[in-house]
């Protein structure tokens, strides 16, 4: 079976053969960095295009259709425009923090990429606490947002940042609890092992009702964590102009914008890994021939297909639901999602002990 791990092994062996070990490791860092940055820019272009297309179709519009064939190059044109714009720093702003904030937000979403498994044997760092690492790092992004809001010296920005802080801190709980359900079932925090455990079927099928509940809670919680509608109180165009990035312009604004979309990709990739089996093809128990046919579809196609399906679902949410008020937002988390996910956790633990899953 074709696998990207052959290529990575080949490159690895060649590098260690040609260069001393330290230099080879450094060269690998550089290669990985370039790959991640390339993935970032491609994701930015593709996801923004996808979002505008989905939004237009759901609102009975046509969407971008002037630049290039069927408007495909619209985001490229937008990027060129953003690069050419002047990056202003307001006079009253805290210069260092103001300029640092977008990079922190970007770096966080880059670091979360490390334990993700993009295809069979194609992973940056197979750390043994992968899922824990992701949840730990993803909460750092709120620091970047608070930094941006505070340093802008603007009421809208500060309000948006504070809302975003309250929101991310609360929703991290239920996101974490729904991740834990899968950790309980798998018995490991390592991403590759979680995927390997879904060889006989994805967790969403194997774990039936409790995992389905935690999947729904996970999707709701990560929608809130990435500050997207219906939880986009941090930006809330109609109330706060643009929330924490009101004062940003040009490329610094573009970094925030890009980080938002890359964050969506990352959380959807995590969701696909935990609940939908990552790169694992669709397998049904002991149907050998069926499983074998499914294996012929490359693992990266499976991974990106599932991830983009989840991204589509989150975009679907955005263009369907109205925005929540801040009190409704906190009610939803503390009165509904958290109790349900705690109860669900007990259920899953019971299921794992008694072996009620398939």
């Amino acid at each position: 079976m074709f696998s990207l791990s052959h290529i990575t092994d080949l490159v690895n062996a060649w590098l260690y053969q040609q260069f001393p070990p330290t230099l080879a490791l450094l060269l690998q860092f550089v290669i990985v960095g370039i790959l991640v940055i390339t993935l970032f820019s491609i994701l930015g272009l593709v996801l923004i295009m996808m979002e505008r297309r989905v939004a237009a179709w759901m609102q009975l519009r046509l969407g971008p259709n002037r630049v290039g064939p069927r408007g495909m190059f619209q985001t490229v044109a937008d990027t060129v425009k953003l690069i050419m714009k002047e990056g202003m720093t307001p006079n009253g702003a805290d210069k260092l923090m103001f300029n640092l904030a977008p990079y922190i937000v970007m770096m966080v979403s880059m670091v979360i990429m490390a334990p993700l498994m993009f295809a069979d044997g194609f992973q940056i760092w197979d750390i043994n606490i992968g899922v824990f690492f992701i949840t730990a790092i993803s909460s750092v992004s709120v620091i970047g947002i608070l930094m941006a809001g505070w340093a802008s010296n603007n009421k809208y920005s500060l309000l948006g940042a504070m809302r975003s802080g309250a929101q991310i801190v609360s929703y991290e709980l239920s996101a974490g609890l729904s991740i834990i359900t899968i950790v309980i079932l798998t018995g490991s925090l390592q991403v590759s092992e979680i995927i390997a455990a879904q060889q006989t079927g994805w967790w969403i099928f194997k774990g039936h009702i409790p995992v389905l509940i935690s999947f729904v809670i996970f999707i709701i919680a990560v929608t809130a964590e990435t500050n997207r509608a219906p939880f986009d109180l941090a930006e809330a165009e109609s109330e706060l102009t643009a929330g924490f990035h009101t004062e940003y312009s040009g490329m610094k604004f573009a970094l925030f914008f890009l980080a938002e979309y890359v964050n969506i990709f990352v959380v959807c990739a995590i969701g696909a890994t935990l609940f939908l089996g990552g790169w694992m093809p669709f397998h049904i128990g002991s149907w050998e021939s069926f499983n074998h046919i499914m294996d012929y579809i490359p693992s990266s196609v499976w991974f990106f297909g599932k991830t983009f399906f989840l991204i589509f679902v989150i975009m679907w949410f955005r263009w369907t639901f109205p925005r929540l008020r801040i009190d409704q937002l906190l009610n939803l988390e503390w009165k509904y999602l958290l109790p349900i996910s705690m109860f669900n956790l007990i259920l899953v633990t019971l299921m794992a002990i008694m072996g009620w899953h398939f």
Binding site: A56, W57, R61, L62, W316, F317, T320, F321
Partner: protein, 159 residues
Amino acid sequence: MFIKEYIKDVWGAISSLLKGMKLTGYYFMHHNKEAITEQYPDNRKTLKMADRFRGEVVMPHDENNEHACTGCTACELACPNGTIKIITKMEPTPEGKKKKAIDTFVYRLELCTMCNLCVEACPTGAIKMDQTFEHSVFDRRLLTKKLNKPDSKVREGVE
């Protein structure tokens, strides 16, 4: 029963959200059929305007170059922002009497808000709203229009 209310709450929320998603999902799948965007400069020939769209005030003339305006100035009084100015003149009738008639119907498009009050005020139905909308010109003086055509006169029998 607290727990019953709670579950009913959650179920109501989920089912109503799913109902909304079903509608937008339908729109997403049928966007070719349902999309209502008019690609305006491209489809100028086949462009369909909504019935209630109002573009400008016009005064229809029939084939004898006659209109129905008696110069009563009801529209001028009804206009909230001085868009219409009617200049009247005294015209001799065949019987030798003098009768008030319209000389110039001045319509200032740049002031008009298309509120339709003048059309409603007109007792003889002499003016109506047209659906043309490509009004941009390079000189604002061109926006001050004279609605009655030269040498036109009021239709027989319109009082």
